[in-house]
């Protein structure tokens, strides 16, 4: 069983708002001294693939589109337990939209050849559009399961557990498939140890360029992006917290209840 996981490396999304900075001209976040990480849901997708590998014999390949420093995400993926990784990197990939990314990933899947399934996180933790997975499914013609939390082979097919309001669904499809992954209790991503990452840094990671993937830059929509960020800004938030005073807990609680009533919230 060979599962391919598509990862995106992003700037640590857990940084507090006061160190969060954007470049309004480039329309992107400024990294500063912040760490780069595998985007949350993508790490969870890798976790789901690794859990499957532990149940049935298999192989997990992690791939990412990014600049040279995205290799760090792949070191982390190896340390978590991925068997193989590929960095897809080319200066012409800089300004692509979600269609372009799906196009590149489709070419990479084609080059990888044989696989039984592709996993993508539900959405990236930066721009959060959540489009690449469903686009990639359409582009490759693979059956598309969305927002699944884990999977298990069943009679030559794959079964997915998908959390829904108040319960879950079991969905089934043939292989190969594409699934987008969301989180639940079963798939909290494992940590990569620092030692594991150091060891992984000695692994040679193959890099594929546009030429390696036989991609024509005109074809991947560099000139014709259909989804474009026109403006990025940090909204002004002038909130001054009104603190409820009181001698004791119960007194503060009473004052809070009264204040909420005054504000017509209760």
């Amino acid at each position: 069983m060979h599962i391919v996981v598509c990862l995106k490396q992003i700037i640590d999304p857990e940084i507090p708002p006061h160190v969060f900075q954007i470049d309004p001209v480039e329309k992107k976040q400024i990294r500063g001294r912040q760490a780069l990480l595998i985007s949350d849901f993508d790490a969870i997708a890798l976790e789901v693939a690794l859990q499957l590998k532990e149940k049935v014999d298999g192989k997990v390949t992690a791939i990412t589109i990014g600049a040279a420093d995205a290799v760090e995400a792949l070191h982390t993926a190896l340390a978590m337990g991925a068997d193989e990784t590929v960095l897809i990197s080319d200066p012409v990939f800089e300004e692509i939209d979600s269609f372009g990314k799906a196009h590149i990933l489709a070419a990479a899947l084609h080059k990888l050849g044989q696989f039984d399934g592709v996993l993508c996180g539900r959405q990236a933790g930066d721009v959060e559009l959540g489009l690449v997975g469903p686009f990639l499914a359409e582009m490759t013609g693979l059956p598309c399961v969305t927002l699944a939390a884990n999977m298990e082979p069943e009679n030559g097919k794959m079964r997915f557990r998908r959390p829904i309001e108040g319960g879950y669904e079991i969905l089934e499809t043939t292989t190969p498939f594409l699934a987008t992954i969301t989180n639940d209790e079963s798939n909290v991503a494992r940590y990569a140890s620092v030692r594991g990452i150091r060891k992984a840094m000695r692994t040679e990671i193959p890099t594929w360029s546009a030429a390696d993937l036989a991609l024509d830059p005109a074809e991947i929509g560099l000139e014709t992006a259909q989804i474009e960020m026109e403006e990025l800004f940090v909204p002004e938030r002038e909130i001054r917290c009104e603190f409820i005073a009181g001698e004791s807990g119960p007194e503060k609680a009473q004052q809070l209840a009264l204040r909420l009533r005054e504000l017509k919230l209760l």
Binding site: P13, E14, I15, P16, P17, F20, Q29, F41, F99, D126, V127, E128, L129, G130, L131, G133, P134, F135, E138, P143, C144, T146, L147, I164, E165, G166, G167, E169, I170, L171, E172, T173, T174, T180, N183, D184, E185, Q226, I227, E228, E230, E231, L232, V234, P235, R237, I239, C241, E242, G249, P250, K252, A253, Q254, L256, A257, L260, L263, L265, L266
Partner: protein, 329 residues
């Protein structure tokens, strides 16, 4: 003339609130564009009778696709049906609710099939020249972006509670048409084997006007019982931060945050929650945020409107009692 198509799925028993929210969004967009006609695509089994409700809430025309096979709301079947509806009607804009079905599956896949752009999880829009600029949060709500989609038709999914349904006007007139679509012929490579769904006790996070949420500082599952009692008195839903969900104190389905539910109630009471960016991405759009935390330097007080610095044990039981008394008056 701009035709705006709003898309909703329903069951015979229930028309979701989000169907009315996107109608309100469609109406507002149509009015901003000056000459917009708002059409509603209503998809589901035996849903004809919701047609009139959609007209009363702002639709100029309703197109119903009803078929028993739509019973289970399988994504591939809905997608195939909607694709046919869009091809028949040729709208300029299609609006979806940003839910698991539309935002996570049908919307993006339809965009791909139509070779057109889509912007997901929008909270608003503006018109500049003849371009619609879709407003959406990015970077976990720390920034906002105006995005533009290009192509033969514009698709956008709208965040729940970003638009309030219009008050029903029973004098509004509009035609309800039935579409003939061969739903039986749509293939679904993904099959639904089983669906287990318990009727939720109490109010769901999506529907709640008040949410009481707890964080790591609740210390254990017992702490959440105190929050549940407060929620019961207030008619509120109970949520939790990611640490609380990962520790099993609240189910993951009740997780509020970037990796959980994004909510926007009138009142959000954050108890023993530090206010990490991951959490505020889910709770930050609440109209009023009340924070109760023992640490006066907790980041939650930077975003809260009303704050109480104290151990939750000193506040929550007393607050429950005070609210109970107040609300029984």
């Amino acid at each position: 003339m701009t035709n705006i198509l709003t898309f909703c799925t329903a069951s015979a028993q229930e028309l979701p609130r989000t169907a009315l929210e996107i109608l309100a969004a469609g109406r507002q967009l149509g009015d901003k564009l000056g000459n917009g006609k708002v059409q509603a695509a209503l998809i589901g089994p035996d849903v004809e009778e919701h047609g009139e409700t959609l007209v009363h809430h702002g639709a100029d025309e309703v197109f119903v696709a009803s078929h028993p096979r739509l019973q289970d709301h399988e994504a591939d079947v809905i997608l195939g049906t909607l694709q046919t509806v869009v091809q028949q009607l040729g709208p300029d804009v299609v609006l979806f609710p940003h839910d698991a079905l539309s935002g996570g599956n049908v919307g993006p896949r339809l965009a791909y099939r139509l070779g057109t752009g889509i912007v997901t999880d929008c909270v608003g829009f503006e018109i500049k020249g003849d371009t619609i600029r879709w407003l959406r949060p990015v970077y976990g709500g720390k920034a906002m972006a105006y995005m533009v989609a290009s192509g033969p038709v514009q698709l956008a999914t709208m965040r729940s509670r970003a638009f309030e349904p219009l008050p029903p006007d029973s004098a509004r007139q509009g035609a309800v048409h039935t579409l003939e679509i061969d739903v039986g012929a749509i293939s679904s490579p993904v099959s639904l084997v089983e669906r287990t769904q318990e009727k939720m006790e109490g109010i769901s996070l999506d529907q709640a006007q008040i949410i009481v949420s707890g964080g790591r500082g609740m210390e254990d599952k017992e702490g959440f019982s105190a929050l549940e009692r407060l929620a019961q008195v207030l008619g509120a839903a109970v949520g939790g931060s990611r640490p609380a969900a990962d520790l099993g104190w609240v189910p993951h389905s009740q997780l509020v945050g970037q990796t959980g539910k994004i909510v926007a109630p009138n009142l959000y009471i954050a108890v023993a929650i530090s206010g990490a960016p991951q959490h505020m991405a889910g709770a930050g759009s609440s109209k009023t945020i009340v924070a109760i935390n023992k640490d006066e330097d907790a980041p939650i007080f930077k975003v809260a409107h009303v704050g109480v610095v104290d151990e939750w044990q000193n506040i929550i039981p007393a607050l429950t009692a005070a609210c109970e008394e107040m609300l029984s008056d």
